[in-house]
Subunit: 261 residues, 2 copies
DNA sequence: CGAGGAGTTGAGGCTAGTCAAGGCCCGTGG
DNA sequence: CCACGGGCCTTGACTAGCCTCAACTCCTCG
């Protein structure tokens, strides 16, 4: 597990003030630290502080930088014509931000810090040029886009759940899994986002999120205290999330004939 | 508009039998044909036929190839533990398939042909090597991942709609826009997927999709005949999709303070 | 200490899920 | 050629769940 080492380094850097992050550090965050050659120690990127509620970039802005979350957390949002805010997902330590601008070099979403946070700033043109020289950086970029795509798929899975309680259960498990992957506790969660943010992400009303949480708490799966959630009965939560409205019958994959070239 | 030219070429290729697709052709599909240098004419990739209902790749398989839809259409799916099939999205001509395997070189979803289709096979290692030499190919890959991310964001937007009729309206408009971008009609749609596929993608019951379609038809926005849909009143559909449950009040973005480094 | 946002809880109405039945289309096979 | 079968799709009736509205509490922050 490389996360603890990464964390220590991160804190040290912050204490030192405005830091330069080595590319090798980013590779370690992404779990491909073994790819880091000596050249990745020479390539450095600046850190940027982002105060709580500040926007890192805004939908429609031209792409200048990609960002990697160094500390804190973000929500990614889209605003529709009426100003309604759709939350696309949440970014934690090590997650890359701004990738959906790769299409036409315009940000397709906005990123808002949920707390006082910091990001490593990756000037896109520079990163691209460096990635041609350093295979590890190229791999980092590809890996990040793939991870982001997978993330979105997971989110769609959350949103597709039949009942609101199942959605919230899946959401909590999803978050716990991500935190655990970062070396933090997979049982104790501090929700950095509001209930409304969660609600938007899951496609339900924010009151429903509230009710689902108390419901899960009453059934003994979790303990809720404001934004602190403890997963008491992980197995129970897992069972909970499998309650799909008769879907086992309706949506069974019809044993596909595999196609071989 | 480069789509018609691309289509003609495509049909010609198909008539000639098992074809080799030039990389310059793929660049044209992606809308960056102007980047195609002479070297992109020498790089060729094979075509593969995929009969209706066949799976192009399966969740969990190691990544060997990426694919670009040459003709026909696909659905991307994930199966959860109980075998329930979650549709993540649909791929049309020019869309890239398999990108979510970039994370850990394992496909995170499966792709199923909705009709007799064909794809350009891009051996991943080969494509990666070529992209280091040819900037246009590198750009193609980045653009494709960005486009895919945007696509997923759009899908989340579809799923987040408050009422089922709105979801279906958004879905139809979304599909129409994509078809129009390919140079096809933006008014007449032939749905290649079943109602159940749409339902899964939108997170509703398949009966609800049916009812929503008849509802939209009765209100004069569309005309439905089996899988053929005609968008009669596009403005009406657009108005329809803006009916969000009081969200204008609840979810208004609270005029964020922009953060400048 | 006050203001305002965040969260919770309750009541009620309506949407959409569930179950069920029937029609349509298209394949296969006699 | 037609009969048959099995999907896909549609429609109806019922009901559960969720959205809406509203009131209230709690916490945070100025």
């Amino acid at each position: 597990m490389n996360a603890p080492a990464a964390c220590i380094t991160r804190i040290d850097e912050r204490r030192r003030g405005p830091a330069q992050f080595r590319a090798s550090e980013l590779l370690r965050w992404a779990g491909i630290g073994e790819c880091a050659g000596p050249d990745t120690d020479r390539i450095v990127y600046p850190l940027r502080r982002v105060p709580a509620l500040a926007m890192l970039y805004v939908e429609g802005q031209p792409l200048h930088n990609l960002y990697c979350v160094a500390s804190g957390s973000f929500k990614c949002i889209q605003n529709d014509v009426e100003g309604y805010e759709q939350v696309l997902g949440f970014a934690l330590h090590g997650d890359m931000l701004g990738l959906d601008a790769l299409c036409d070099h315009q940000h397709a979403s906005s990123a808002v810090a949920l707390e006082d946070s910091s990001v490593v700033v990756l000037p896109f043109a520079e990163l691209l040029a460096a990635s041609r020289q350093v295979p590890a950086l190229e791999r980092l970029l590809l890996r990040a886009t793939g991870a982001e795509l997978r993330q979105r798929g997971d989110t769609q899975y959350l949103m597709a759940a039949p009942s609101s309680e199942v959605r919230v259960a899946r959401f909590l498990l999803h978050l716990a899994r991500r935190q655990a992957a970062l070396g933090q506790s997979g049982r104790r969660l501090r929700l950095r986002m509001t209930r409304r943010d969660i609600a938007s992400c899951l496609g339900v009303a924010h009151e429903t999120v509230s009710r689902a949480l108390t419901g899960l708490a009453q059934s003994g799966c979790i303990a809720v205290s404001h934004r602190d959630i403890e997963i008491v009965d992980a197995d129970g939560l897992h069972r909970m999330q499998r309650v799909t409205r008769g879907a086992t019958r309706a949506g069974l994959a019809p044993e596909p004939r595999m196609f071989v070239a």
